[in-house]
């Protein structure tokens, strides 16, 4: 069975879900996989969430859009409300404990509940919560080695923020090592 | 291009002396225009200017829609037809694709100032290095004499049968003055074709409208007040009279902008 992975990443605009989506797609490509990344914009953004879908596969990718994902990264509550019911059986969701109440989690699903904002703050920059969450996703899904994603940072983070690459890298690692 | 007339009937016969010849930039096809129409004069002037500037071999004519659609049947230059009103946009594409060519449009008032107002204004505003020739005879000629944006107030046309009114139709549009306001326009003037004097002035102005293009100064524009005896229901002489007595008072002749001249105000008004 060829290796297939998909993930919907969602959060408030500004939480950087498009950045980690791009990063994962770039890293997957550098790892030699087929990848697709698609942002969903328009009406859906008005609910306060931005989201994107990334698909990784060893075969050419069919649908870049996924209604029932194998995994999600949800950084805020509206995103959990929207995507938790769609998560596939046996899937996993990475849930931002800093902004989402634990009581909302569906106990029948596999969740990694980590305080992404709090952990990012400890690393000195609360904006790195997205990277923390992606790190946790990498651990939970085993989709790609952490190092491949860290290496891809330089192709995704704009030159203007190049000095922050090491901090992003540390945030990925912190999320990866969360238990 | 050979300058000798191929048609023997047009060459001087025994005992005759050639005192006037058509421009070699025009071919020998008989014009399809009505008697007294000024397109023939305007064609000749454009052809003479192209010949004098020695640019016919690199000229590209963008024809329009109206009586002037068939301009390209008479000019010995490369030509492309354009949809109604779009000549200045087509000329923009030609100019960008062939920077070394001399590009000109030849349009009537309906084509250029109504349906093609946007394309004309914006090509002018971008300073496209083209020359646009507007033949203003205050009516849609080919379709049968309907009102155009330049129709005079009170003028009876097939769509203003009691005469054009300000209240219902607005007033005549002054394209040369409008274009003169735009930064990309290097030259904008209005001339008339109703008298020998005016025709001579028009030739000089036309030359200037091509000069600014060739010098890379910007958009060259000339509006020529012309007669349409058929749709005006006048004989050619009365039509000429109408230009001088009714049109020129509304459409003053003159240079409204000349990027190469100090001031650039009205010169031969």
């Amino acid at each position: 069975m060829p290796e297939y992975k998909d993930v919907i990443m969602a959060g408030f605009g500004g939480q950087g879900v498009l950045l980690i989506g791009n990063l994962l797609a770039q890293a997957g490509m550098e790892y030699g996989l087929e990848v697709s990344f698609i942002p969903v914009y328009g009406v859906e953004m008005r609910g306060g969430t931005a989201n994107c879908t990334v698909v990784l596969d060893t075969r050419p990718i069919g649908s870049p859009l996924v209604y029932r994902p194998l995994s999600t990264i949800v950084l805020n509550e509206p995103s959990l409300t929207k995507f938790q019911p769609r998560l596939r059986e046996g899937g996993v969701q990475i849930v931002n404990a800093s902004l989402i109440d634990k009581s909302l989690l569906d106990a029948s699903l596999s969740s990694v509940y980590l305080p992404a904002n709090g952990m990012a703050q400890k690393l000195g920059n609360s904006k790195l919560a997205n990277m923390v969450a992606l790190g946790a996703w990498l651990r939970a899904t085993g989709a790609l080695p952490l190092k491949v994603v860290q290496k891809a940072l330089k192709h995704v983070v704009s030159v203007h923020y190049a000095r922050l690459i090491s901090a992003n890298s540390a945030a990925l690692e912190a999320g990866y090592n969360f238990s | 291009m050979q300058s000798e007339r191929r048609n023997a009937a047009l060459r001087p016969q025994k005992g005759e002396r050639l005192v006037f010849d058509a421009s070699p930039v025009l071919n020998e096809r008989p014009l399809h225009y009505c008697p007294g129409c000024h397109h023939g004069i305007a064609h000749r002037l454009v052809a003479e200017v192209l010949h004098e500037l020695q640019v016919a071999d690199k000229a590209i004519l963008v024809a329009s829609v109206g009586c002037s659609t068939f301009t390209y049947d008479y000019f010995n230059v490369d030509s492309v037809e354009s949809p109604h009103g779009r000549a200045c946009a087509v000329a923009t594409g030609v100019r960008r694709a062939r920077p070394e060519a001399v590009v000109f449009t030849y349009q009537g008032d309906g084509d250029m100032t109504a349906i093609g107002a946007a394309e004309s204004l914006h090509a002018a505003n971008r300073g496209e290095k083209i020359t646009a020739v507007l033949i203003n005879n205050t009516v849609y000629g080919m379709t049968g004499g309907q009102m155009s944006p330049t129709t005079l107030l009170g003028q009876k046309t097939t769509t203003t049968q009691a005469g054009r009114t300000m209240g219902n139709d607005g007033g005549p549009i002054h394209f040369a003055e409008i274009l003169a306001q735009l930064g990309g326009v290097a030259y904008s003037c209005r001339c008339a074709l109703d008298s020998v004097k005016h025709v001579r002035e028009a030739k000089k102005a036309l030359r200037r409208a091509f000069d600014v293009q060739i010098a890379g100064l910007g958009f060259g524009f000339i509006e020529l007040l012309a007669g349409c005896p058929t749709n005006w229901h006048l004989d050619p002489i009365a039509a000429n009279k109408r230009i001088s007595e009714a049109m020129i008072p509304v459409f003053p002749l003159g240079v409204f902008k000349d990027a190469g001249q100090e001031g650039g105000g009205a010169r031969h008004a």
Partner: protein
Amino acid sequence: MKKERVLMKGNEAVAYGALDAGCLCYFGYPITPQNEIPEMLSALLPDAGGHFVQAESEVGAINMLIGAGACGVAAMVSSSSCGISLMQEGLSFMAGSHIPGVVVNMTRGGPGLGDISPSQGDYFQAVKGGGHGDHRNLVLAPSTVQECYDFMFRAFALAFTYANPVMILGDAVVGQIKEPARRIPPKGALSPGKLRLLSRGWRIEGFGARGKNGQPRLLKSVYLAEGALAERNRILIQKYADMRKEARCEIEDTDDAELVVVAFGSIGRIARSVIRELRAGGRRIGLFRPLTLYPFPDAALRELAPGRRFLVLEQNAGQMVEDVRLALEGRARVFWHGVMPGLFIGANELEAPILAAFGEN
């Protein structure tokens, strides 16, 4: 040219493809969801010795394309649905005058202003010659970012081979998706020099460019003399008949298929995901994806007719299904399922209609 895979959007691939294929002029007017194309080319073309003009309208843009195309220069416009409607007059003129040019349509939802989500509602407008008179555009339908890149080469080659407008028909998914693509000219790509050669017999440039005995040329679509327009139309019809050999399609898993899904562009690739899953469950279903919508690959489709049923999936109210029925000439049963514009659809939405046509549910 870069040989390694680079992650890029479909719209970006269109821009790179145009540039690498030798496009020298771009004319356009902003409209979502295709703005990356003019934005990128405004930066890239001048450096490549080309021209970028932001037109005053789509009407202006298509007429600039007429001018540049008439000069035998590789040129393009891009827009979306309502903007393409405004270009239809120009497309008719181009077809009638034998003028080449490439038009990219990243379709949005309609009718009217509609929305900016994916849609295939412009199939008719692209394929049936949305403008006046009998005219046809060659139409290519990419579904991946690599195809966006590759099809630009093909579009310019076809435009110059047939002196005819070529439309790339994409949508918001195809334009906005990011995937790896390689910037390598695809097989059959024509060099800019070869494109110039193809235009030698008709382009305008000033007769002096054709030597001492150069004669004036005229490109036009008006034919008023008795019989002249009939003759012109006969030439055009012959040209459209010649184009038939350019029909292309992608066929997957049809050998044993009882049901063949026919879908193009983004819906074509989304359908592939469902078909893979359903085949894994033992259902014999195949995919027929037209790569050219005009000419429609009808002969290849007709070959599949014996013993099979067909399901047309498209994101509109039923457009391509007409061409599928015409192609099959009543030899097979044809089902249709339309997804409405205004939705980003995933593979799951296509499962039920496929199963229904397969004979389950």
